[in-house]
């Protein structure tokens, strides 16, 4: 199905249907096309971004009403269509603000609650909507014209889907789907992306509603906001396979055919049968028909069943010459000035309720330094990192990067100021490939690379992390060591000035630890990246750090060269333990 001929044939076949002059078949095909626009646009939000918008149909209804009202108001159909598009886009943009406060099930619920709201509004705003009587449009046979309009909209929707699979906006959505916090830390500006995709999807749904209203020449609240019709496109997309390029289309064809059959052959219990179908899809194949084992095994269906990550097959332009020793990274070496403070914490305090995790920390990290940050578990090391990368908003005090205050800045802005970080427990974008994981920060960093260039450049980071054999594998299939290597490489792909490394060596073998030590030294020596390394393994720290900062219950208790710090009495007592030379006697 990857040959363009198939798609063209499909399009031409769809275009020929009205030529048969059979109103029954044309209407049926028309219904399928409208459903496809709805199912496909729904899947941009769900399949690409991972937000289950059960109220998508509301936008269809709004579009239908806007169109009907404009047409009754004697505007030409083209103008009415444009009006419907703008109104739905506006409604979606406004609704995005409350709705994106919600996540997961809550989002699904909040959006579903829009349906009864819209129905109440349509029933009661009688002067505008004519209440339960509905709106009758000027009688006119527009089936053929409506058919070709919706066919064009379908083609545009299909093109958008193909583009979204590969373009930068699509990658913003995919990173949001996997882990919003990490996406933001990697430089993706998430909220505008979320609003944009909902507005885009809503605009398509609104146009679909407008075309449907045009063809039916009658709408009332039940037909465009009813609960039992509203979930049909959702069920279609899921039946085919949400997030798969061909999923919505397959689902639409199957379910629409079934619906038509039921309409002709079964009287009554329509909603029951429909509910049963929805229930069974949810129970037995929420991943979709195209992900079922017996479908995936069919080699002639490969083109239909390919997952997104299976379509990414590396980009050829990467350098492949064998190098001895450390590979090179596509980073611009920075000149470092040891006399200049790159990162500074001033009286930084962070508390969770009454628990003070970071207590008035004052810290200066000089450009080009490698600083070890140690302390017992719970002493505030990761919290300090979280305050710097803005995962937490500090309660008081401030963090400065090269003199620029981070207060009031978003995580992606902090990333653009030059902060890259890893997580103690690796958080890769699980359903993207290793290469794509690294391409995300390259696309959303200062260089704003196009996906093609970013994927090519990502290869060099992958080579540096010695993960070439896993280049096109999903990141969630990696082992712990591989995930840690990926995490480190992805942080480097942010092209940071200061790199926050959180326990990258714990749980690894001595050889693997040695490699990280060498890489940390290498990125500083060759590229001038300043490093703060949280680690418990002193032998590893000892090989590279310029100095060590010790935290204890949120306070900095020691700051200096490693050999001095390990001799410090307080450090011995509170962190290293056991060998404290003198414990103050109680009965002195």
């Amino acid at each position: 199905m990857n040959r363009p001929g198939w798609k063209l044939a499909l399009f031409i076949a769809a275009g020929c249907i009205p030529l048969a002059q059979n109103a029954y078949y044309t209407t049926f095909a028309f219904t399928i096309l409208v459903a496809f626009v709805l199912a496909q646009s729904w899947d941009w939000v769900a399949g690409e971004m991972g937000y289950v918008n059960l109220g998508h149909y509301v936008f269809y209804g709004i579009g239908a009403y806007a169109f009907a009202i404009a047409l009754v108001g004697k505007y030409p159909s083209g103008v009415a269509m444009l009006f419907a598009l703008l109104i739905t886009a506006l409604a979606a943009a406004l609704l995005a603000f409350p709705l994106f406060r919600l996540k997961g099930d809550y989002f699904a619920f909040g959006t579903l609650a829009l349906l009864p709201l819209a129905e109440v509004l349509a029933l009661n705003l009688v002067p505008i909507t004519n209440g339960s009587d509905g709106i009758v449009l000027p009688p006119e046979n527009v089936l053929t014209r409506a058919y070709f309009v919706v066919l064009v909209v379908c083609v545009i929707a299909a093109i958008v889907s193909v583009r979204l699979a590969r373009n930068r906006f699509g990658y913003a959505l995919k990173s949001i789907r996997n882990d919003e916090e990490v996406a933001e830390v990697m430089g993706v500006r998430i909220f505008p992306a979320k609003v944009a995709v909902v507005v885009l999807a809503a605009a398509f749904a609104g146009v679909a509603g407008a075309i449907q209203a045009w063809q039916m020449s009658f709408i009332d609240p039940g037909t465009v906001f009813g609960l039992n019709v509203a979930l049909v496109p959702v069920a279609m997309a899921l039946l085919g396979g949400s997030g798969l390029l061909w999923g919505p289309l397959v689902g639409v064809l199957l379910l629409a055919t079934m619906q038509q059959w039921l309409l002709v052959n079964v009287k009554g219990y329509q909603a029951t049968i429909y509910g049963t179908v929805i229930l069974l899809i949810g129970r037995f194949m929420p991943g979709g028909l195209l992900r079922a084992g017996w479908v995936r095994e069919r080699s002639w269906l490969r083109g239909l069943t390919q997952e997104h990550h299976e379509r990414i097959t590396g980009v050829q332009e990467a350098r492949t010459e064998a190098q001895s020793g450390m590979r090179e990274l596509p980073l611009v070496p920075r000149k470092t000035d040891r006399g200049r403070a790159l990162l500074e914490c001033r009286d930084l305090t962070m508390a969770f309720g009454g628990n003070v995790a970071i207590d008035r920390v004052n810290l200066k990290i000089m450009e080009g330094e490698i600083v070890g940050l140690v302390g017992a578990n719970g002493s505030g090391k990761t919290t300090l990192f979280n305050c710097i990368s803005k995962v937490h908003e500090p309660r008081s005090g401030g963090v400065f990067i090269d003199g620029v205050a981070l207060a009031g800045r978003r995580r992606d802005e902090v990333a653009h100021l030059g902060v890259g970080r890893t997580y103690q427990i690796p958080r890769p974008f699980g359903d993207l490939t290793v290469q794509e994981n690294i391409a995300v920060p390259l696309m959303f960093g200062e260089d704003r690379l196009q996906p093609r260039e970013a994927l090519a450049q990502a290869r060099e980071f992958v080579a540096y992390a010695e993960l070439e054999s896993r280049l096109t594998d999903r990141a969630d299939s990696l082992s712990l060591q591989e995930k840690k290597a990926l995490e480190f490489a992805r942080a480097l792909a942010c092209k940071p000035r200061v790199l926050l490394v959180d326990e990258v060596a714990s749980g690894l073998t001595p050889a693997e630890i040695r490699r990280f030590v060498e890489q940390i030294r290498d990125v500083r020596d060759r590229y001038g990246i300043t490093v703060i390394w949280v680690e418990h393994i002193f032998s590893a720290l000892a090989q590279v750090v310029d100095r060590v900062v010790v935290l204890e219950q949120g306070l900095v208790i020691a700051d200096g060269p490693l050999n001095e710090v390990v001799a410090d009495e307080r450090v011995l007592r509170t962190y290293l333990g056991g060998v404290a030379p003198k414990v103050p006697a109680v009965h002195a």
């Binding site: 809550y106 829009l114 109440v120 039992n228 949400s242 129970r283 991943g287």
Partner: protein, 290 residues
Amino acid sequence: MSIEALVQVLIGGILLGGLYALVAFGLSLIYGVVRILNFSHGTLLAVGGVAASLLYASFKLHPVVLMLILVPALFVFGYLFYTFLLQPLEKRSHFESTVGTVLVTVGALLILSDVTAKLAGATQRNIPIRFEAIEIGEIVISTTQIWILAAIAVLTIAMQVFLRRTWFGRAIRAVTQDPVGARICGVDSSRMKAATFAFGSSIVAVAAVLYTMSFPVDPYMGFGLTVKAFTIIILGGIGNLVGALLAGLFLGVAEGLTGFFWKSEWAPALSVILLLVILVVFPKGLGRSR
């Protein structure tokens, strides 16, 4: 617009709000333990209410007897529904299990309403039981209303005691806070989930009988109730019964006042608008979850 009429509306609102809160208790317990938003939760009230009114019409059963029939019935329904249709989805990936549970519970909602409407008719029904009215000045309160209010109060207290003092209640709270931790401490969380789902559903049976005694029910009203219960949970905090009761009373009274001062047609929209407003103004929720 007399003061007496206003008081009457307030009493009606408190009654309605208390019933909303009962429905919300079940939804909240289920969400806390099973992490599933059961979209068909309110529909159970509609089905239970229709069943109760039919049983009353045929056999003139006392409301308490109706509860004794419906509570075990919905308990068994909830247990089977969860065990056979929802539990198997837990093994799937996060997105698939989210989508799967939504589809299963929405499918159940459509089936339950449609089958009930086909079997019992899509008309509004109630339990036309009338105790004598008490008149205080111009204000008329029926003893039915007093009994229902008393039942709501007793149930809320009983639930609170149950959650704090019994083994099962403590286990529910433990799993709500940390499922893995609870399992390590010997709480069999998969059986707990099924039991909680069943228990949460059976609370609806009590609410269904009480609701049908004072307000009409129809097969399609369920989803509106689910939306209200959800708004109440957001307002009051997951697993917070007192918060849910207060939120329920607030919503019930607000709906009553909307009808009194404006038009009752707008009352159903109130909860959704309230929900959207809360989300904008208080993004972190009002109540603390427990």
